[in-house]
Amino acid sequence: MKSKRFKFIAWAICAVILTFSIAGCSTTSATQPASQSPSAAASDKREITDMLGNKVKIPAKVNKVFCTSPIGTYIVYTLAPNKLLGWNSKMSEDELKYISPKYKNLQVLGGNMGGQNTFNTEAITALSPDIILDFAYNGQTSDMVTELGKQTGIPVVIMDGALKSTAASYRLLGKILGVEDRGNMLADYVQKSLDRTAAMVAKVPADEKVKIYYAESADGLKTDGNDSMHTEVINFVNATNVVTMDTSSSGKGASVSMEQVLKWNPDVILANSRMGGSNFLKTIYSDKTWAGVKAVQNKRIYVPASLPFGWFDRPPCIARVMGVEWLAAKLYPEYVKVDLKSDVKNFYKTFYGVEITDAQAESLINS
């Protein structure tokens, strides 16, 4: 009786394994022919120098890119979306509203984010990307990404994630992806936009510099310091991040006490609407304690747009180019005179290829 049951279980296990392996074969065989041919044709190699100074041999023609984080994915999306193998995480309904229909259903491949790996090495290998694109901040890269390159033999190209390197990133990526014209066009746009804002905020006298506190999370007491990749925009627009402390650039942030926030007494609070921030925003104006902060008394709480990509942070990506202009205009209306609405529409058309309405532009500006 007992052995009969075991026999049945053994057979059942065999059957399950068999079904899965057949299913596994069928998915790989379905993608293989489509993916193998172009890269096989482009067997010539060329050598490039990535932004960390590494010499990398890459295929002459790069058609398929796997980006290890949304920072890379979003820049490639604006540059050559047809070369993108997939997103790093599932897009929300709100985000998808701003994505061209063609790329809404791109597969989700995972990535290396917040110190956590969610991609599957075999799945990435099966897609045979021509290059793996990674972004570093202050030259820091993840070992897991380097390891992925070693394991698969796919060249890893590392870019610099700093805000001021955005234009340079577009130029280099344009060359790598074979879309130099578009790369240069977007790089010029970025440079012009950043330079214009920089020139305007440079006129702000030192005693009018605004003190900003960046509130993340539901209690508003998680933040990032002024050396972090998450707060670069604040430094760029000639404002002061009250958190002058060295917080980690790994994306984990730091928490501060309410007393410390009251002591800083920031002029402006930038609130991230994600990461529980929407709860913070609901209660901030009715909270007795936060009422003691100057920014709350003067109703100067600004929420950077996050659709489809974050204008300020999470992730710190190319949308920050728009965020710089927006924040500068919010902080220093006297010095920064720009037509935000038309600039936003122009930015979305140029970078994302979507036409947005006046109402949409306004809701992005005043979200």
Binding site: K90, T118, S255, E259, Q260, G292
Partner: protein, 352 residues
């Protein structure tokens, strides 16, 4: 009842009289810590002004002091001090009770899965966009649910066996099960949105203590503590073994269940407002045992008092030393781990 008296007198040591003064000193400890902590904080309040505000408030004087100072004191600092004391007392008290109930000095409140369950509850609530109160409530309920699951599984499995061992084993299973559920949620969570929020919550800390948190904690805290306090002498009997206790006509099972429930209530309520803070429930009862001896009649109150003072002082360090907060669990581990090794070494020499 007569044999009970004998048992109690057996426990009573000859150092009965100094014990009273020791207990009096311990009772003053949290009070002193409270007063000292009042003057600590990132927002500097000069001592004379602090006194002025306190006395002014007590006597109902019209405020002559800046409004912000009053807000800092009453909306920020005092709630945080009270939360730290309640959490410390709850963790140490429930830790002491657990150690007695399981007759095992290595047991701490999370052994039955309370922390893992609460962690999962919070992650689940965050993923579903609950507000702060909702997150804390869900954490609390799942903490209790995890312990209930452990308990009933233990009952179902260990009918005629060593129930304590079975309970600890099922506790480990439930714990890893809930940790796995939490990982699933973290894996599913959006890395630019929900994932950092969950990570923040699991990191713990008393940063977001407000008056609301104080009131939320107060009820389960008092309820749990009163139950433990009333039953504290029965923990002594449990530690003699079930046979002896049964001979005295004590329903050990019932007592155990009530004690576990009360301790879980305390632990889950603490985790709900402060996240997971390790080591307090383990080392404070040991420290208390070193000072007042093994009699639960004094050991339990001693643990509660010392726990309150300990966590309050550690939290003072966490909130004042740096501009950014130092995670509490890091501090308790740095203090707790070496102390525990010391206890183990001391224990070994006494066994030899």
């Amino acid at each position: 009842m007569g044999s009970m008296k004998k048992l109690e007198s057996k426990i009573k040591t000859s150092r009965q009289r100094p014990l009273i003064s020791v207990m009096a000193a311990l009772a003053l400890l949290p009070l002193a810590a409270f007063l000292v902590s009042l003057s600590f904080g990132r927002y500097g309040i000069p001592l004379p002004q602090l006194m002025q505000i306190l006395f002014g408030k007590l006597c109902g004087l019209t405020p002559t002091w800046p409004d912000t100072l009053e807000k800092v004191l009453f909306n920020v600092r005092i709630p945080r001090i009270l939360c730290a004391m309640m959490v410390g007392a709850a963790l140490a008290g429930s830790g002491a009770a657990y150690q007695g109930v399981f007759k095992n000095p290595m047991v701490s409140p999370d052994i039955l899965g309370a922390s893992a369950g609460a962690g999962f509850g919070a992650a689940f609530a965050i993923l579903n966009n609950y507000n702060v109160i909702g997150i804390e409530l869900t954490a609390f309920l799942f903490g209790i649910a995890a312990v209930a699951l452990t308990y009933f599984l233990g009952q179902a499995i260990g009918r005629n066996m060593n129930t304590v061992l079975i309970l600890v084993l099922t506790g480990m299973v439930v714990q890893s099960l809930f940790s796995a559920f939490t990982s699933v949620i973290k894996y599913e969570a959006d890395p630019n949105n929900k994932l950092p929020e969950i990570t923040f919550w699991l990191m713990g800390g008393l940063t977001s203590s407000t008056q609301k948190q104080v009131w939320m904690m107060a009820f389960p805290f008092l309820a749990g503590l009163v139950i433990l306090f009333l039953l504290r002498w029965k923990i002594n009997i449990l530690s003699f073994g079930d046979e002896e206790a049964k001979a005295l006509g004590i329903d050990t099972l019932k007592i155990r269940v009530i004690l576990i429930m009360a301790s879980t209530l305390l632990t889950s309520a603490s985790i709900a407002i402060s996240g997971m803070i390790g080591w307090v429930g383990l080392i404070i009862p040991h420290l208390a045992r070193l000072i007042v001896g093994p009699n639960y009649k004094v050991l339990l109150p001693a643990s509660v008092l010392m726990g309150a003072a300990f966590l309050l002082l550690v939290d003072d360090v966490a909130r004042t030393v740096l501009v950014t907060e130092i995670p509490l669990s890091i501090l308790t581990a740095i203090i707790g781990a070496p102390f525990f090794i010391y206890l183990l070494l001391k224990g070994r020499s006494s066994w030899e």
